[in-house]
């Protein structure tokens, strides 16, 4: 139940060294639907573009551009081929129960987290992860890096150092995920290695997104209403259709945690403003584009483009009873007390 985003996308960016490319056989960019595909956008009975189904991020693109790809937005054919080979190999290793470097993850010895993190059994990154040409999810700013303010960058360093290391002196010390609250809206569509499935259900006047992890749910009206005034963890979202693109504008977030989030780029603040664009590009493919604006955390807005995959018909999402079974909290606090007793006074 703990260590939910030990493998945050940021960490993936650092550790999955070569796994960032696209197969020659696969489409080269999510933004460009395969022109040979017979797929046509279907509509709901009431005429809205149909986005329904269970969707998940299954690619291995780092959120921020690794230094070795500086100045390059996409990979060469050679890099794509190598990346695909590596992904196939790691997928095989995962199935065989391997851990650590063989599956593109940290070994126990390399892990900065004492006791390591969840092993591969708990993680589901795709079968194998899909390879794309993008060198980072962040496409704007052009350097592919999150434009943190200096203060936010310091907070990021503090929260990273603290994550998994503690001290855990009370229930307020673990991050919001470990408290079974949420990991926030920002990365909802592309995070959750143990519950990253998103079911989209459309009804007249609404699009509902059920995210498996933490039972996160967004009921987004598309009836033309304007924003309300009530602040919430998930803010106040209003949606509209622009052609076949579903556009969601969300403001009025609240942060009741008074805490530096483990993945600080996902933290809500009262100044956070998110604009998301969902565009289906094929029967099983969607481009999810998110623009994040928050002067509290970022010097300027940033935009990420994320390829999302529709899973097979019949794929279910299941009940994520996190709080109901959060034995980890009790154990973590017990461990915290043992640690405190050992500490020299």
């Amino acid at each position: 139940m703990t260590a939910r985003h030990t493998v945050s996308t940021l960490a993936l960016a650092v550790f999955i060294a070569v796994a960032i490319a696209t197969s020659g056989a696969q489409q080269t960019s999510t933004a460009q639907p395969d022109s040979t595909s017979p797929w046509k956008q279907t509509t709901t009975p009431w005429g809205d573009p149909n986005l329904q189904g269970v969707w998940r991020y299954e690619a291995a693109i780092p959120l921020e551009r690794p230094a070795r790809f500086e100045g390059r937005e996409s990979l060469s054919d050679e890099e794509v081929k190598e990346s695909q080979r590596l992904e196939d190999e790691q997928a095989k290793q995962r199935l065989a129960g391997a851990e650590g470097a063989a599956v593109g993850r940290r070994s126990v010895a390399e892990s900065p987290i004492r006791g390591n993190e969840y092993n591969s059994f708990w993680q589901d990154h795709g079968r194998p992860r899909q390879v794309f040409r993008q060198t980072s999810l962040v496409v704007d700013p052009k350097d592919g890096r999150l434009p943190y303010t200096p203060d936010a960058r310091k907070a990021e360093a503090r929260s990273s150092a603290r994550y998994g290391a503690g001290p855990y002196e009370s229930y307020l010390d673990p991050d919001t995920g470990e408290r079974c609250l949420t990991d926030g809206v920002t990365a909802l569509m592309w995070q959750g290695p143990n519950g990253g499935h998103n079911r989209i259900v459309q009804s007249q006047g609404y699009v509902t997104i059920l995210h498996e992890e933490y039972l996160d749910r967004r009921v987004i009206p598309t009836d033309g209403r304007s924003h309300g005034t009530i602040r919430q963890w998930f803010g106040d979202a209003v949606g509209k259709w622009e052609g076949s693109t579903f556009v969601v504008d969300t403001i009025n977030f609240i942060d009741r945690t008074n805490y530096e989030w483990a993945s600080i780029f996902t933290r809500p603040s009262e100044t956070l403003h998110i604009v998301e664009r969902f565009t289906r590009t094929g029967a099983d493919a969607m481009e999810y584009r998110i623009t994040v604006e928050d002067p509290t955390t970022f010097e300027k807005p940033w935009t990420a483009v994320i390829p999302i995959t529709r899973l097979a018909d019949g794929t279910q999402i299941y009940e994520y009873a996190c709080h109901e079974g959060n034995y980890a909290m009790t154990n973590l606090l017990a461990g915290g007390r043992v640690d405190a007793a050992k500490r020299p006074r």
Binding site: G47, R179, R199, S203, T208, R217, V219
Partner: protein, 311 residues
């Protein structure tokens, strides 16, 4: 005379026929109007199904106690003190007293009286289960899963004092509850069995006439029916019927079967009311953060409520 007799006979016959016809007419009118109210024609979705979309809420005291109950002075009660005083001159004592932990709430912490939502007002517990229900009632404060912000289960989620929203897709219907942010997906298409027991159940729906009928299975044994300790086991099977009875009302019925706890199936029934406020939204009630101090405050090195070290 004969003539008179005959005419009077005719008169009686005519009168009888008139009365009979009148009665038939009355009867027919009554039946027609009855079936007219039963056969309210609900609005339809674009794919021709009864339109249940909307934000709904029960307006009753079922979450306090699904059975009929008089008002009580506290959500939690303490045992009455023994009657005291000398024989023949007995000092009055309470029959029921609020438990000290809820006493500061005063009138806010009481339980309003309410009629039963249980058909016949009887819950057919097996003998052992009667005792367990009473024990649950007596230990409500420690045992009710609602207090810990656990997912409320079905049917309780329907009649908690929070709205819920029906989002009617074509082959899935989402029931989104405000309390604890609980959701369930009603599968109108064919799905395999649930791989594990759940808090909110595994819901398979179908249309019967204008009613949405949902079979809910695969429960765990950890949810309750109300704050009075009514409970079930993991053998619970709930059959729900949502029937539109006007533009702003649904009739909700749930048949409860659980051969481990009850001796026969039983049924609850109540109207649900549309929240007709313009632009009404389902808001967040993320209560996990509200219960952390109660559940974990004493467990860490420091209690955040006091800033002091725990012993």
């Amino acid at each position: 005379m004969t003539r008179q007799l005959r005419s009077s006979v005719v008169g009686v016959v005519v009168a009888a026929v008139v009365v009979a016809l009148g009665a038939m007419w009355l009867f027919q009118t009554t039946t027609t109007s009855q079936s007219a109210s039963q056969a309210y024609q609900p609005a339809r979705t674009a794919d021709g199904k009864p339109d249940l979309n909307g934000i709904w809420q029960a307006l009753n005291t079922a979450n306090f106690d699904i059975q009929g109950h008089a008002a009580r002075p506290g959500l939690a009660l303490m045992p009455a003190a023994p009657r005291s005083g000398v024989a023949g001159l007995v000092r009055a004592t309470h029959v029921e007293l609020p438990h000290p932990s809820v006493r500061p709430l005063g009138a806010v912490g009481g339980v309003p009286a309410g009629e039963s939502v249980v058909e016949g007002d009887e819950i057919p517990y097996q003998p052992w289960a009667v005792a367990k229900k009473k024990e649950n009632f007596d230990h409500w404060l420690e045992r009710d899963p609602e207090i810990k912000c656990y997912m409320p289960g079905v049917p309780r989620a329907t009649y908690m004092p929070y709205p819920f929203q029906i989002l009617q897709g074509t082959d899935k219907i989402v029931m989104a509850y405000e309390f604890a942010g609980a959701s369930r997906t009603v599968h109108l298409d064919t799905v395999p069995d649930s791989p594990a027991p759940t808090w909110m159940g595994w819901s398979r729906g179908r249309w019967e006439g204008d009613s949405l009928v949902v079979e809910v299975t695969d429960f765990n044994e950890d949810t309750w029916f109300d704050r009075a300790g009514n409970f079930h086991s993991d053998a619970l099977h709930v059959t729900e019927r949502y029937t539109p009875t006007s533009a702003d009302h649904l009739m909700y019925e749930a048949t409860i079967e659980d051969p481990k706890v009850f001796s026969r199936p039983w049924k609850i029934r109540m109207p649900l009311y549309r929240r007709i406020e313009q632009g009404k939204k389902l808001l967040e009630y993320k209560c996990v953060e509200f219960v952390e101090e109660m559940m974990y405050g004493h467990l860490g090195v420091v209690d955040p409520a006091t800033g002091q070290k725990n012993k």
